[in-house]
Symmetry: C2
Subunit: 151 residues, 2 copies
DNA sequence: TATTGTTATACTCTATAACTATA
DNA sequence: TATAGTTATAGAGTATAACAATA
């Protein structure tokens, strides 16, 4: 354990695992929301909009360009899930879930809670052990060591 | 804990956490390999090619179309990291790392081992606790509950 | 002058379909 | 006839740059 090479291998392996799990988790989420007729990026946005937010904020939280948020908002709007409401600063538009949007968000939550890789593969004790580790792993301010550029 | 709603919330929260961490892990990995001049998908392929494999196999392991593997192989070939070698069945081509490819794979391993979100945020004990959980979480045969369609 | 959102556009990743060579 | 890889092409997702309205 004090052998640097061993720690190398150990950590490298963990990272590799985490990356693979990451890919699986995303595919899993994609499959779940596909049943609801949503691509991943729209589903993520809906989940983030539980409380109305300026488009700018969404761009930051998703770390993608403002122009892309316009596109997202258009798609969500077409589906009747979101509407733009004017901010007090009149340059700003808030994105808010419509009634249908709120219903969709609830369906997403329910679908994910019912069927996901964590409940599928871990029992209650293991989940309790995992929770604090994931919380520590999670950087609330996102953005990695090097800066993140993509969405 | 026996309250279904509570378990709902608990599991839903864990899944959400896992998804966010997944996104971070990917971004983190992307930033790391970007320093080596590689986009994520090429880096993943290189890591998977530690042992030469038929293009078909790679397609399955990455769960993406054969045509895309052709494109991947072309890009890796252009960079001199991989070459196609004929299989015994003459329809088959194996993808094998060149010397430069092996060197690159080692650089990727080293870069990831040196700087990654796991060592950044977890101490040795926590990493030891995390390892078996990740292993259980990881489905070696990939493919979720619903079938995975995308790459 | 700086900032918010929009438009037009282009690029990257990935898939589908049709094709060639081999089995 | 079925399978491995390739080609041509198209679609989705996302970014960049220039722009209008507001601050």
């Amino acid at each position: 354990m004090t052998d640097p090479d061993a720690q190398f291998a150990e950590t490298g392996g963990l990272v590799k695992l985490l990356i693979e799990i990451a890919a699986q988790a995303k595919a899993d989420f994609a499959a779940t929301v596909a049943v609801l007729g949503l691509p991943v990026h729209l589903a993520r946005a809906i989940v983030m909009l539980s409380t109305p937010a300026p488009m700018r904020d969404l761009a930051e939280r998703l770390s993608c360009d403002r122009s892309y948020i316009t596109a997202l908002a258009d798609q969500l709007d077409e589906r009747g899930l979101v509407r733009r409401i004017p901010g007090e600063d009149r340059r700003v538009k808030l994105l808010a879930l419509t009634e249908a949007g709120v219903a969709m968000r609830d369906r997403i939550s329910r679908a994910v809670a019912e069927e996901n890789m964590i409940t599928r593969r871990l029992d209650a004790d293991e989940r309790r052990a995992l929770a604090p580790l994931l919380e520590k792993l999670h950087d609330p301010d996102a953005v990695g060591a090097h800066e993140r550029e993509t969405c």
